[in-house]
């Protein structure tokens, strides 16, 4: 039996037994190798679930939809290791109760699909723990190397050019599982800290705010990157911030559901190199 068939069978069993009220998984997309999120609540529909190496979207963000979990019933969700880390962060930030989440874990290595054993988030500690030691990091090594070699001025020019493309559609925000605020700072207009119009000041403000709000929280799932209609390498900023947070505070986001948010917690031996 393929992993897809195994997971379909498991979904059917959970739904018909009432153990979960919904399974969030992947379905066929509009073109051949595209996959889109589907929400199954009837055991008869599990045949629509698809699992292959094209399933790359991080689905964890759907769990914090208003009211979904407030009836305290369980929801199952297909997740890669990044998505599992996202569950830890959402639980640590009180956005969901991790016990309500049933995980269908999977990973893709060298185009080969692999099932991850476990049901609840803490059972995946080994899988996500290995990320800390062996961080796959940012995939586009060439771009990373190019950026690291730049001087501060060159880097500024690079980002200025990239952000010039931004049309302030906020698709990155909508796609990000960590952007769960009911009112985003950019939607606050009394006062209007972030300029709404899509010129260089507002674009810079938005992208810098976004980078800071994701520091120590981003799991580098790439949802933002894929959502961006103008192809700004958003993940590159997040990766850089993750490297900085690891160096400064020895923190990797999403390691456990009780992990303290790095920017809100304080340890006496925290490095203070950033204080002038």
């Amino acid at each position: 039996m393929s992993i897809e068939q195994q997971y379909q069978a498991r979904a059917k069993e959970l739904l018909s037994g009432g153990a979960v009220k919904m399974v969030i998984g992947y379905g066929k997309g509009t073109t051949g190798n595209r996959r889109r999120p589907i929400f199954i609540s009837s055991p008869d529909d599990v045949g629509r679930l698809v699992l292959d190496d094209s399933c790359i979207i991080n689905l964890s963000g759907y769990l914090v939809s208003e009211g979904l979990l407030s009836d305290e019933k369980r929801v199952a969700v297909f997740l890669r290791p990044e998505g599992i880390r996202a569950i830890n962060i959402l639980a640590a930030e009180s956005q969901l109760d991790a016990d309500q989440i049933v995980i269908f874990g999977f990973d893709v290595n060298d185009n080969e699909l692999r099932a991850l054993k476990g049901i609840h988030v803490e059972e995946f500690a080994d899988v996500i723990g290995s990320i800390r030691e062996n961080n796959p990091g940012f995939a586009d090594k060439e771009l990373l190397e190019k950026i690291e070699k730049m001087t501060a001025q060159e880097r500024f020019a690079f980002w200025q050019e990239e952000f010039a493309k931004c049309i302030k559609c906020y698709a990155c925000r909508q796609a990000c599982p960590m952007c769960y605020c009911r009112r985003c700072i950019v939607d606050s207009n009394q006062p209007q800290w972030v300029n709404t119009s899509s010129h260089s000041l507002g674009n810079f403000e938005w992208n810098i705010v976004r980078a800071f709000h994701l520091s120590g929280r981003c799991v580098e799932c790439g949802n933002c990157d894929r959502a961006c209609p103008v192809n700004i390498p958003l993940r590159l900023i997040n990766h850089k911030m993750a490297v900085e947070v690891l160096g400064a505070f020895d923190h990797v986001a999403g390691m456990s559901k009780t992990q303290e948010p790095v920017l809100a917690s304080f340890k006496k031996d925290d490095s203070e190199t950033f204080i002038l």
């Binding site: 930030e93 006062p191 809100a264």
Partner: protein, 656 residues
């Protein structure tokens, strides 16, 4: 419509010399919403404040900007003046054109431009300021005094004698601190113990003082008027209620060769001990590290000797939680370890000692019963060399500051030596004689004129042993030639330094400290006994090197501050506190963790049937100190700080 008054202060020449105040006043007068814009030499003076009040009344001002010095200096002054004129004090703001402008710039035209920017920015903020009302919080009328030296005892007695409760915490087994170690005190040469021990007894027996010795502060939470303090009472292994202080255990203890900390390693003590004979309370402790039973599992001689069954080897540390309204920190000092001066041979030659060791030697209750002896052979020294500033005023090996007391105690040492060894000769190497204080210069002159102390102005370069003598080589800079003295004993006037754990402890109680570890006062001149944390006061040498009269005076000053705080049942607090917008709060509770004062709680919003609709953060205004940490952390901008709201800050920034 906004009617803002702008008051531009020359601060004498401080602002006036670098900022064209007339031009600034004219420019501000043109700014939309400004009804009055005037300048004056000193607005903080009585006529200056009167003119502000008059302008408020005559023009019905809706806000005031005083362009002057830092708000730390006179914000309170002008807010009070505004309140007296009927304007809510939080509608008054200070534009700092002194520290942040005139003092740091040389070009008058550019400084004037900048002063305009700063003032305009404040005018824009004041237009959006809200009326705020002070928050009333109850005051727990009980003080905590940390440290049982002379400063702590004085503060505790002053507060207790005024009828308020005090908890006095000392980490050593006995009260007394450094003063109990001293022989005689300058400038009167009265016996330190004779004036100290009665105060110790008075503190211990005072009905309003609860004494916790051999205890340390574990944690401090809360805020002025409402602190919660956890104290660790270290296990003495002796039941304080059963022990009568007979001392039989001390006599019988077989571990007798432990270096006595109280005698600065010149004497020995047992493993069960009181630091000194007049200890208060007169109840010993068992030093676990040196006790034979704790090391080998066999002995318990003390336990067999004790007739009251007071010894309990199974005793563990216990904790006491205290509710107090004010804290006096009187944690004292330490002396620097002189072994950093390899050339003086401290730690290598037994007859090179420090000033505190000399005190123990000269003390009638000390290890030599008051006889001046060489530690090496017990012989009476015929020549003694005193080296001042052995650590102080020495940026290379010691400390940069002057330890303040060494000139005086060295003069005293020379006197005591002359009184005890009549034909002895003392030489004192000094940099300057600093004898400012009542009767101090007369005292040091007496050492020179009556007790024949030979003062040599210059530094010592080397001390070495030769034929049973200590050879001291230095320079006499007044005669311009090198000097060599064959001495029997060398006494180093060691620097006073902060307690080794002073910085850690400052973090525990939440006060500031300087580069040396001495605690920072709120204002060096105007608020010298208050720490930067409201409700925490500083007494004695924990703030800076001090002699006894200064420590006692400062201790009494802290007591008066505490008593002023306790004079009312409630305390008015600044209404500058955070508030949370529950509608937009995402409930991530990062602010709960980020808040250094534990002022933010988790709150459930329920519907009519009691079901949780939403979980949000909620700020307790009684605990909030208005630091703004939560505001900067909040990703959804739900938290806002009264008096510094987002709208106000935004207007301030856009006004630049």
């Amino acid at each position: 419509m906004a009617k803002i008054g702008v008051f531009i202060c020359h601060c004498g020449e401080n602002v006036g010399a670098k900022v064209d105040c007339t031009k600034l006043a004219a420019a501000m007068g043109e700014h939309p919403g400004v009804a009055v814009s005037v300048e004056y030499k000193y607005f903080c003076s009585d006529p200056g404040q009167e003119s502000v009040k008059k302008a408020i009344r005559e023009n019905n001002l809706t806000g005031v900007v005083v362009a002057a010095c830092s708000p730390r200096m006179h914000e309170a002054t002008f807010r009070k003046a505004c309140a007296e004129a009927g304007l809510n004090p939080y509608l008054c703001e200070i534009a700092n054109i002194r520290e942040q402008c005139s003092w740091v710039h040389t070009d008058k035209d550019m400084a004037t431009e900048k002063a305009m920017d700063i003032t305009r920015s404040m005018v824009e903020k004041v237009k959006r300021n809200n009326k705020l009302q002070p928050i009333e919080v109850p005051v727990t009328r009980r003080a905590l005094v940390i440290g049982g030296g002379i400063a702590g005892i004085q503060a505790a007695l002053d507060i207790a004698n005024a009828g308020q409760e005090v908890v006095l915490v000392e980490r050593e087994p006995s009260l007394g601190g450094h003063m109990a170690q001293l022989s005689e005190t300058f400038p009167t040469l009265d016996c330190s113990q004779c004036i100290m021990t009665p105060r110790m007894v008075e503190a211990a027996q005072h009905p309003k003082i609860r004494l916790l010795t051999y205890s340390e502060i574990e944690s401090v939470d809360g805020y002025i008027g409402n602190f919660t303090v956890r104290v660790r009472m270290k296990s003495r292994y002796i039941d304080i209620d059963k022990c009568t202080g007979c001392g039989d255990c001390i006599t019988k203890c077989p571990a007798k060769k432990i270096s006595s900390e109280f005698d600065c390693d010149l004497g020995k003590r047992t493993a069960v001990y009181t630091p000194f004979a007049q200890s208060v309370p007169n109840i010993p402790v068992i030093d676990k590290a040196n006790c034979i039973y704790f090391k080998n599992g066999k002995c318990k001689i003390c336990s067999k000797t004790c007739q009251c069954d007071a010894i309990d080897f199974a005793m563990t540390d216990t904790f006491v939680d205290l509710e107090v309204g004010a804290i006096v920190v009187a944690t004292g000092f330490q002396v620097q370890n002189n072994s950093v001066y390899g050339e003086y041979g401290y730690g290598t030659y037994p007859d090179v000692i420090n000033g505190l060791q000399f005190e123990r030697m000269a003390s009638a209750s000390g290890p030599t019963a008051g006889k001046i002896q060489r530690p090496s052979d017990g012989a009476e020294p015929q020549t003694v060399v005193f080296i001042q500033c052995a650590g102080s005023r020495d940026p290379s090996k010691g400390v940069r500051y002057c330890s303040k007391i060494c000139c005086m105690y060295t003069a005293k040492h020379a006197m005591l030596y002359a009184h005890k060894v009549h034909d002895g000769k003392s030489h004192i190497f000094y940099m300057d004689i600093r004898a400012a204080g009542k009767g101090y210069d007369e005292f040091s002159r007496r050492a020179i004129e009556e007790d024949e102390a030979a003062y040599v102005r210059g530094r010592v370069s080397k001390v070495w042993q030769e034929n049973g003598k200590l050879m001291v080589r230095g320079v006499d800079t007044l005669l311009g030639r090198p000097v060599e003295i064959a001495a029997d004993l060398v006494v180093l006037a060691t620097a006073m330094i902060a307690q080794p754990d002073a910085k850690e402890f400052a973090k525990t109680i939440g006060i500031g400290y300087d580069e040396y570890g001495f605690y920072n006062e709120a204002h060096l001149k105007l608020r010298p006994v208050e720490s930067s944390t409201a409700g925490v006061y500083l007494a004695g040498a924990c703030q800076s090197p001090k002699d006894i009269p200064d420590s006692v005076a400062q201790a009494s000053a802290t007591a008066s501050k505490v008593l002023a705080l306790f004079s009312k049942e409630t305390l008015e607090r600044e209404p500058v506190v955070a508030t949370n917008n529950e509608a937009t709060c995402a409930g991530c509770w990062g602010c709960v963790l980020a808040c250094p004062y534990n002022a933010i709680e988790q709150k459930d919003i329920l519907d009519r049937s009691g079901r949780i609709i939403k979980r949000v953060a909620s700020v307790n205004p009684g605990l909030c100190q208005g630091c703004g940490t939560c505001v900067t952390f909040c990703r959804s901008n739900s938290l806002d700080l009264a008096g510094f709201t987002e709208k106000q800050i935004f207007a301030e920034v856009m006004g630049l």
